[in-house]
């Protein structure tokens, strides 16, 4: 994935008054990587991105881009370009002039300049709109202009601050696919800020999950989703059933634990995990539990009753009360077999896979 380190952030902090927006954070991002910064509102994603761009001066720490220390270098002399959240299209210029804005300073000859503008517009499929004034464009088109305007500079790193959040759902999903294939076509490092976990999961090579100015976990989408390191990360990335368990064995890399409903299980320890007072929290994603219909059997099953049901069109979310559990289990069923018609109070059997259980730090 990452051929070599493109961005290397070392012990960076940003204080606004006494409060850190980002606090001693270190991170390596590879060349050609699609990297997402994911976290709730106010966790410092934008601050971190703007420190990479040069708009925010770090209080502490250093940033290297492609081997060069850029700490203290102003934005106009960094090999990065940014797509702003509101796109910041220059209102007095048309599409071509917007895209050519940065090229003007490079003093290319006219034909070369025209060629690069044309190429960039083609990349974002806007070739026919070159002479439109900025206020004659839709939100999606403005987004493409902002992209072309940054890409035409051939930056080493493209920074995107919630570029899709102003678009409606349908267009957003279409742009996610386009943005990802564009990144693969141009092959430069993209750093995307988002608070939408599905966007991060769908687009990224790797995701950094941030809380309160600190990194909680940096990993591939699959790993982040399936093996979250703690309760907070697990919760932020979608539904999760939390169970408490009693530790029966604690070796180097593994923990053996006894659960009320899944019996005895052995779990891998995430890095830095320590058992506190013989108790641990386990998690299981709702879709890893499956309803068993008449005549179906599974190697591992448990019984419960339907206590709640929510219909979502393609899926139904069910709450299943199980004896010995204080909170019901959540499960997600596709609406193939009639999960959407199960009455509240119906007795059901669930199949589970003990390997889907993860050990979560608090």
């Amino acid at each position: 994935m990452a051929d070599r380190s493109m961005i290397s952030i070392h012990g960076i902090s940003k204080y606004y008054g006494p409060y850190p927006a980002v606090s001693s954070l270190s991170l390596e991002i590879g060349g050609g990587e699609f990297f997402s910064l994911l976290g709730p509102s106010g966790c410092g994603k934008t601050t971190l991105l703007r420190m990479i761009a040069g708009f925010v001066e770090p209080t502490d720490g250093s940033i290297r881009i492609d081997g060069q220390d850029v700490t203290g270098t102003p934005p106009n002399r960094r090999p990065t370009n940014m797509v702003f959240q509101n796109y910041a299209i220059f209102p007095h210029l048309n599409v071509e002039e917007n895209v050519g804005y940065g090229l003007k300073r490079l003093r290319l000859d006219k034909t070369e300049e025209k060629r690069r503008i044309g190429e960039a517009l083609e990349q974002v499929r806007l070739s026919t709109l070159g002479s439109r004034k900025a206020h004659e464009l839709s939100g999606g088109q403005r987004q493409r202009v902002a992209l072309a305007r940054a890409l035409v500079m051939r930056p080493k790193v493209l920074l995107l601050d919630e570029p899709l959040s102003a678009l409606d759902k349908k267009l957003r999903e279409q742009m996610q696919v386009e943005l990802r294939s564009l990144q693969q076509a141009v092959g430069i490092t993209f750093i995307l800020v988002t608070h939408d976990q599905y966007e991060a999961l769908a687009m990224s090579d790797r995701i950094a999950v941030m809380f309160a100015g600190k990194l909680a976990q940096v990993a591939t989408p699959k790993e982040i989703y399936q093996r979250p390191v703690n309760r907070q990360v697990a919760d932020f990335l979608g539904g999760m059933n939390f169970l408490s368990a009693t530790v029966t064995g604690d070796t180097n890399g593994k923990v053996a634990a006894r659960t009320d409903i899944f019996g005895d299980v052995v779990l891998e320890k995430p890095p830095g995990f320590t058992v506190v007072e013989g108790k641990v929290t386990l998690g299981m994603r709702p879709e890893r539990l499956r309803l068993l219909w008449e005549g179906e059997t599974a190697a591992k099953e448990i019984r419960g009753t339907v206590s709640n049901r929510h219909y979502f069109g393609e899926t139904t979310h069910l709450s299943i009360a199980v004896d010995g559990l204080s909170a019901p289990l959540s499960i997600i069923e596709t609406n193939n077999y009639g999960a959407d018609d199960l009455p509240i109070g119906a007795g059901v059997r669930l199949a589970y896979d003990p390997d889907a259980l993860v050990l979560l730090a608090e």
């Binding site: 370009n81 940014m82 299209i89 804005y101 300073r105 999606g140 409606d168």
Partner: protein, 269 residues
Amino acid sequence: MSGRLRLLPVFVAAYLLFLYAPILLIPIFSFNNAASTTFPLAGFTWKWYVTLAGNTVMLDAARNSLIVGVSVSILATLFGICAARAITRYDFRGKRLTSGLIMAPLFLPEIIVAISLLMIVLAMGAELSLLTVILGQTVFCIPYSMAVLVSGFEGFDRSLEEASQDLGETAFGTFRRVTLPVVAPAILSSLLVAFTISLDEFILAFFLTGTQQTLPVYIWGQLRFAAKLPSVLALGSLMLLASVFLLTLAEIFRRRAENRKILQEVPHG
């Protein structure tokens, strides 16, 4: 219902007639070949405009008006830019109160403002001159300039300057290639509005001037002589034309500024 619908155009027509007919009489009589302003008209003539061209006192007044107008529009716009930038860019305590106080002269009786300024000028022992007129009218025009500029600057998003810098432009280049062009329509509009107000302004100019008079003050002086009335009408027609022209221009720039502002709100889809 239908009765009301038919009444409305009549009402509008009457209203417009009441508003504009007296003003329209001025250019009509300025081309009338007679010294009196009565109907029936006595034939077409340019002669009142020709006498105007040879009237050195009037030309002096016109020059004074031009000096005052240009100075006032520049000063009011400069102060307006500072105030508008502070109001649109920064949050500070008492912001509402401050902008309210700056706008207040709009609603104060002009004659009160004029008398108070006169008292201050006299108390300071300063000499009445075009300079005192300029200062007085500047105070009076700042709220108008500021209103135009605030509406223009509100559309200016800081991220435009950041985007420019991000694309490799220096701070000065950013000012020249982004900041200035984006706010230019609002600035032009403010200059034109302030100039037009100054051109027509009588009370302050009357109270605060010394021996040099501006056009409105000159006109007022001429009204004592019945024979001079037709040239005054010719002069009035020209000033009317200039005002309408300048305000139209100001409106065109204001709309352009408005267009740029709309862009800041990203539409969905």
